[in-house]
């Protein structure tokens, strides 16, 4: 289809090349340099969408990122589809496919339009009041229906195939906005040798200049030649955060039909700037009158851009409605481009000056002191009704005269674009001459070093027609009923704002949330000031007193992909693997995540499920033996003159007499007396200890100990080093443990007399120098072999070569849990939850009574911690000897009761235990230590409460005979 509405000459488009694109299934052509919006207009398409709530026909209102109406779906139904894209910022490319949104069956004939007629049923906040009965209908009927009818585009259903990158940068000066003010600021900084980044969201620099006839942008060559100046076009600054930290979105390949596959689609920049210059310009705002949303109603500045920059013949007869001078310049440009300007309707009773004279010279009629009271036209404006204002600012019942037009330019004044300034915590001030919020002079936080220039600073001296003098008119009176829109994207009318105030809402933040004005993809860029002013007018308050709602990032919508960057799929998080990981994989291990670690969970044989594998493993360990990869336990090397003193202060038990060659189990508390971590620490020599922590607690325990040394006890000479990844640890457990290791171990006597329980020895294992600790987390005879991590796989392979023929197996963390629960050994974080003391756990034996102060000692004496009814660790045996309880289930005193049922505690661990011959469980139960032998109940949803017997938390080998082989 030909571009029938393209002017014969002019514009910043490349007429030598044609680009094909489709909109709503129809094929069109445009030129390089076009946006989707300008190309549609050049083809005479003004109707591009339906509004959010009332399904009113909508057109293109702006020429920039502030567009509220012209939202389209790009690449519909494809993985790369993108909803709610503003047609005004989409650069045209060959093969582009776009669809209108929120209409059915078609854009021209939309059944949803019925909402417009039924709109008395849907005032602002209607969903808070209607559709309330019956209650269950909201979730099942009303909400799904409303969602289907209201709304915007369709979210992509497939994974995003594109790549996104993050980039961090520093600069001396960051200039946001590449109009004349921004270019001047960048040049000035660049000439002095500063590192400068200049960003602009458009494809080329120039900003507002590009909308002028025969635009000439100066300074670009010099800018390009300055070595320290980086210019980023197609880049929007979306957020201004603390301490001059800004986030910018660069659209790298969106404009290319066939992008280089090595390039990312978009790049998210995070910039720390020494100074920021906000040259973000100003945004024109519309006027609020009946039918101000019809296709063909357009901001005067946008019309000017479409005519001059994109050479679009926007219509055949235009009416201009303004309260300031800027729209006059637009009217002249239209006139010179051959578009008839029917009249300029100027709110001001006596407009004066050069522009007025020029209008008269050009023969353009000025209807001063008048307003457009409304428009008509089914799918595009076809007439405007004009009436003079009376003394009281009304129209005195005057019906007005009809001005036929297919284009209505509006200008309600200009808002300095202060969004980023406000995000930076700058205060705003209402300027009465501009009738707009401008940057205030109140001081910014000292780290926010910024200045605003040009239109963003309320300085309109660069305009060929500045917007002053201006006569504000916020809600234009009308002779008849009809909707006058304030927020176009959210279908908020002046009447809705009035309703919010009638409902008693006063704070502008509340009015915003009730009416939804200023929300959505445009965040009220065109609507906010009009909304505030109408609220102020209704309340008879100055606008300054009503204030603004908070400007929040992002300034424009940002693709999730850009925020996520590389952090998806395999790169989402770090995965830690032990030195023996591959051996476990080769034996068919199923892994579980413990922190960032992959730990072998269980090792199923063919045909085994998890339960069967764990039953076999737990039996095998106690009957023959088993080997656990325990490398993930945290290991901290503790050295220094005061190492022993330090251990005495951080553990509850005494460390003064632990001899070299021996180990001890220790419990760490916080100063409030609650259990924090546990592990075995070995004395290597008098000033050197090897501490172990839980797997999950390793980083925080090290950080906490370091904190204590630096801040609480700086007088202690102790050095801490994480050696978790230096050692591979394999725990060889079971009756055959000694026999398995004996043939592999040199320089070390494994015999019980020479190597007692809780001792450690240096040794060579399978030829590798390492350490063996005789410690046990299973209750079996056990040796923990530690070798340098890079030898771990070789040593384990050597051990398995001896072990496996004798029925000794590798086992995983699930079996480890069952075995330790059979012995009643706690796991910090499972039996404890930050509110559990060692006394609650029945571990009084480990809390030293005689030694001096330690962390948690005083805390344990707090009144609430010595009370007898605290939840205490007990064992639970299900009476039927079959049911395995569920971890987290509640424990109650009676089998029947009324909700809320008094809860005595909860199950912390529960397993089938082949070695005990029945299910076992651990639980924290109020006053549990005194309840041994009692029957309590565990209620489960949909089942009868399960009777359980309270026992001591040991289910196997209570005399600890097996520990000694």
């Amino acid at each position: 289809m030909s571009q029938a509405f393209r002017l014969g000459s002019g514009g910043r488009i490349d007429r030598s090349a044609s680009l094909r694109f489709r909109f709503d299934g129809q094929s069109f052509q445009g030129h390089p340099g076009d946006t989707l919006a300008s190309a549609l207009l050049a083809n005479g398409v003004h109707l591009v969408g339906r509004s959010f709530k009332y399904h009113r026909p909508r057109g293109i209102m702006t020429a920039g990122s502030e567009e509220p109406n012209a939202l389209v779906q790009l690449a519909p139904a494809k993985a790369r589809t993108e909803p709610n894209v503003r047609a005004t910022v989409v650069e045209l490319k060959n093969g582009l496919v776009a669809e209108s949104q929120n209409r059915w069956p078609s854009l021209g004939f939309d059944l949803g339009q019925l909402n417009d007629v039924l709109s008395p049923l849907f005032p602002a906040g209607f969903y808070y009041k209607t559709f309330m009965w019956p209650k269950a209908f909201w979730e099942r009927v009303y909400e799904p229906r409303i969602r289907a009818i209201a709304g915007l585009g369709v979210a992509p259903a497939k994974p995003d195939p594109d790549r996104y990158l993050h980039r961090h940068a520093h600069c001396d000066v960051l200039v946001v906005g590449g109009g004349p003010a921004g270019i001047a600021a960048a040049l000035e900084a660049g000439r002095s040798g500063k590192r400068v980044i200049l960003v602009d969201e458009q494809a080329e620099l120039g900003g507002g200049l590009l909308a002028l006839p025969d635009a000439a942008v100066e300074g670009l060559d010099e800018l390009a030649a300055l070595p320290e100046v980086r210019v980023l076009t197609r880049t929007t600054c979306t957020g201004y955060y603390d301490h001059n930290y800004l986030v910018m979105l660069e659209r790298v390949t969106d404009h290319l039909a066939e992008p280089d596959p090595d390039l990312p689609r978009q790049r998210l920049w995070r910039v720390r700037a020494g100074e920021v210059v906000l040259a973000t310009g100003a945004l024109e705002r519309p006027l609020v009158f009946r039918g101000n949303d019809r296709p063909g109603v357009m901001l005067a500045s946008a019309a000017r851009a479409y005519v001059n920059r994109w050479a679009v013949r926007l219509g055949s007869r235009a009416v201009v409605f303004t309260n300031n001078d800027t729209a006059y310049a637009a009217a002249f440009d239209l006139h010179r481009a051959g578009i008839e300007v029917g009249c300029i309707v100027d709110v001001r009773p006596e407009p004066k000056g050069k522009l007025v004279a020029e209008a008269r010279e050009l023969g353009i009629r000025i209807r001063a002191g008048s307003v457009v009271t409304g428009t008509e036209g089914p799918l595009r404006v076809n007439q405007a009704v004009v009436a003079p204002l009376d003394q009281a600012g009304g129209i005195g019942g005057y019906l007005g005269t009809v001005e036929p037009c297919d284009l209505l330019l509006v200008s309600g004044g200009w808002n300095p674009n202060v969004g980023l300034f406000s995000q930076a915590r700058g205060r705003l001030r209402f300027d009465d001459a501009l009738a707009a919020f401008v940057t205030g002079d109140a001081s910014l936080p000292r780290e926010q070093r910024l200045r605003s220039v040009g239109g963003a600073a309320g300085d309109f001296s660069g305009f060929d027609a500045p917007p002053t003098p201006l006569l504000p008119i916020w809600a234009v009176p009308s002779d008849r009923r009809g909707k006058a829109f304030v927020d176009f994207q959210n279908d908020v009318t002046a009447k809705d704002l009035g309703l919010a105030l009638t409902e008693g809402l006063r704070s502008i933040e509340h009015v915003k949330r009730f009416t939804t004005t200023g929300m959505g993809t445009d965040q009220g860029k065109t609507s906010n000031v009009n909304a505030l002013a109408i609220v102020a007018e209704t309340l008879a308050k100055p606008v300054a007193e009503v204030g603004t709602t908070t400007f929040r990032p992002p300034y424009v919508p940002v693709t999730f992909g850009a925020l996520v960057g590389h952090s998806r799929g395999d790169l989402f998080d770090v995965e830690r693997r032990t030195a023996m990981h591959d051996l476990a994989v080769a034996r068919g291990a199923v892994f579980e995540d413990v922190g960032n670690w992959k730990r072998a969970w269980y090792f199923p044989k063919p045909g085994e499920d998890m339960h069967a594998a764990v039953v076999r493993e737990t039996r095998q360990v106690r009957e023959a033996g088993g080997i656990l990869d325990a490398s993930t336990l945290g290991k901290i090397d503790v050295q220094g003159r005061d190492a022993r003193t330090f251990l005495n202060r951080v553990y509850t038990n005494a460390w003064s007499k632990l001899a070299p060659g021996m180990c001890r189990y220790g419990l760490m508390l916080r100063d409030d007396g609650m259990v924090y971590d546990d592990g075995v620490t070995a004395c290597l020599d008098d000033r050197h200890f090897h501490m172990t922590t839980t797997t999950g607690g390793a980083p925080r325990v090290l950080a906490w100990l370091e904190d204590l040394l630096q801040t609480e006890w700086p007088e202690l000479e102790v050095y801490l080093t994480s050696v978790t990844e230096q050692w591979a640890t394999m725990a060889v457990n079971g009756p055959l443990a000694r026999e398995i290791l004996a043939p592999l171990v040199e320089d070390c006597d494994l015999a019980a007399e020479a190597f007692p329980h809780m001792a450690w020895r240096a040794a060579r294992i399978a030829g590798v120098q390492g350490r063996i600790f005789r410690i046990s987390f299973t209750g079996e005879l056990a040796f923990e072999v530690n070798v340098p991590a890079d030898q771990g796989a070789a040593v384990l392979a050597a051990i398995l070569e001896v072990a496996e023929p004798r029925g000794v197996t590798l086992y995983g963390t699930e079996t480890m849990h069952v075995l330790r629960a059979e012995k009643g050994f706690i796991i910090v974080g499972q039996e404890t939850d930050g509110t559990t003391t060692p006394i609650d756990l029945g571990m009084d034996w480990i809390v030293a009574k005689k030694k001096g102060d330690f962390i948690g000692k005083r805390g344990l004496e707090r009144p609430d911690l010595v009370a007898g009814d605290r939840k205490q660790l007990v064992g639970l045996l299900t009476k039927d000897q079959k049911t395995v309880l569920v971890e987290g289930a509640q424990v109650v005193a009676t089998p029947t009761g009324r909700v809320p049922w008094p809860m005595l505690g909860h199950v912390t661990s529960a397993y089938a235990s082949p070695n005990a011959g029945r299910p076992i469980a651990l639980a924290l139960v109020a006053g549990g230590h005194a309840r041994h032998g009692q029957t309590l109940w565990v209620p489960m949803p949909g089942k009868r409460p399960i009777p359980v017997e309270i026992t001591a938390p040991v289910f196997f080998d209570p005399e600890n005979k097996r520990l000694h082989g």
Partner: protein, 93 residues
């Protein structure tokens, strides 16, 4: 994101640090004889001022040293940075 001047490394981005909460909380010298009230205040009672706040920060992903920061909780201005053990400085805008 704050730019925090580590006294040992210089200005670094907030993500390199960990905040340790209020500074100058003194652990009673003789815990055994501290009353329940004194111990409660030491454990749980913290200031939450609107304005200048003295707090501990750790350069966790840098030198790992702890130090003190005086920060305005309203504006997020960093008014002073000083070493552990030093008295809080006089600060104001």
């Amino acid at each position: 994101m704050l730019l925090i001047p580590c006294p040992h490394c210089g200005p670094r981005a907030e993500v390199e640090f960990r905040c340790g909460g209020e500074a100058h909380v003194v652990r009673p010298a003789e815990p055994e004889s501290a009353s329940d009230e004194v111990w409660r205040d030491y454990l749980f009672v913290r200031k939450s001022p609107k304005g200048v706040h003295f707090e501990r920060w750790n350069h966790a992903h840098g030198c790992q040293r702890w130090f003190n920061v005086a920060r305005d909780t309203v504006s997020d201005e960093i008014l002073a940075v000083y070493r552990m053990g030093e008295a809080p400085p006089e600060v104001g805008r």
